[in-house]
């Protein structure tokens, strides 16, 4: 069970907000991760360098954090989470975010920051459905890894 960590949560959130602000201010783009990935599948000429480097940055940022922090992942990795569930979750996440044109970052952060009703509807929907799904997985199916 993880513990409430309000301070790192607030500062982490500020960094995410800063990153989204930088991308809009400098490049005029929305920092929506599913949109950035999806755009790579579309292969617009000249659009892939910034997308690829943004995604590389995500990895480097997490790597950098883990190098400077002795305990980067206080909630340790799950040893036995079922692989079929990971695959199903990945498929649904990819298909769903592509259909809805956004995920937690595009709709949940940037969309709400732009006061978009569309993004508010998306965010409310995936939050409520995710909560119901987690309830089902943990308390009905009894999968708690």
């Amino acid at each position: 069970m993880s513990h409430f960590t309000p301070v790192s949560a607030l500062f982490g959130g500020l960094l995410i907000g800063l990153a989204a602000s930088l991308l809009l201010w400098l490049n005029g783009r929305i920092a929506g991760v599913s949109g950035v990935v999806g755009g790579l599948l579309a292969r617009h000429a000249g659009e892939w360098p910034w997308r690829l480097l943004f995604l590389l940055g995500l990895v480097l940022g997490a790597l950098g954090y883990s190098l400077f922090n002795p305990n980067p992942n206080p909630t340790p990795a799950r040893a036995t989470f079922p692989v079929p569930l990971l695959l199903l979750a990945g498929l649904l996440t990819g298909y769903g975010t592509s259909l809805a044109n956004g995920c937690t970052s595009g709709h949940g952060v940037c969309g709400l920051a732009r006061l978009s009703w569309r993004s508010l509807a998306a965010t409310a929907t995936f939050l409520i459905v995710a909560m119901a799904t987690t309830y089902l997985v943990r308390h009905v199916l009894g999968i708690t890894t």
Partner: protein, 154 residues
Amino acid sequence: MSEQTSWRLAAASLLSGTVFGGGLALAQITAPRKVLDFLDVSGAWDPSLLFVLGAAVLFSGANFHWILRRAAPLLDTRFHLPLGTRIDSPLLAGSALFGVGWGLAGYCPGPAIASLGFGNPEALWLLPAMVLGMALQRVQSRRRTSVSNTPCDA
């Protein structure tokens, strides 16, 4: 777009992505258990992620307000903003499907990619499946419309 502009955009993206990835790691959204403990409101609820989302939205919202009053971003000739405003069934169905995926395993796209920085083995299963899901949806919508409409980024 000139070569130099493209290079500048890419450098700025690397900066933004790195800050984003650091934020995700610091906020521990890269830890699926932490995410599921937030989504599991009936358990020993961990509200941390509400603070993450709240801080991110308020801070970027305050910044977006002045950024979008500019005529153009610093390194490009115009803003590239999503044009859609309709709350339609693809939006809601897609978000619901994503919600199921998120609630199943505890990963949304950004943290799943960032967690590669920790060498997270779960991401090696989840991410290829996610890209496959995106490709499937694109193929399907291309077939349905035949007109190639470019989806927006949010």
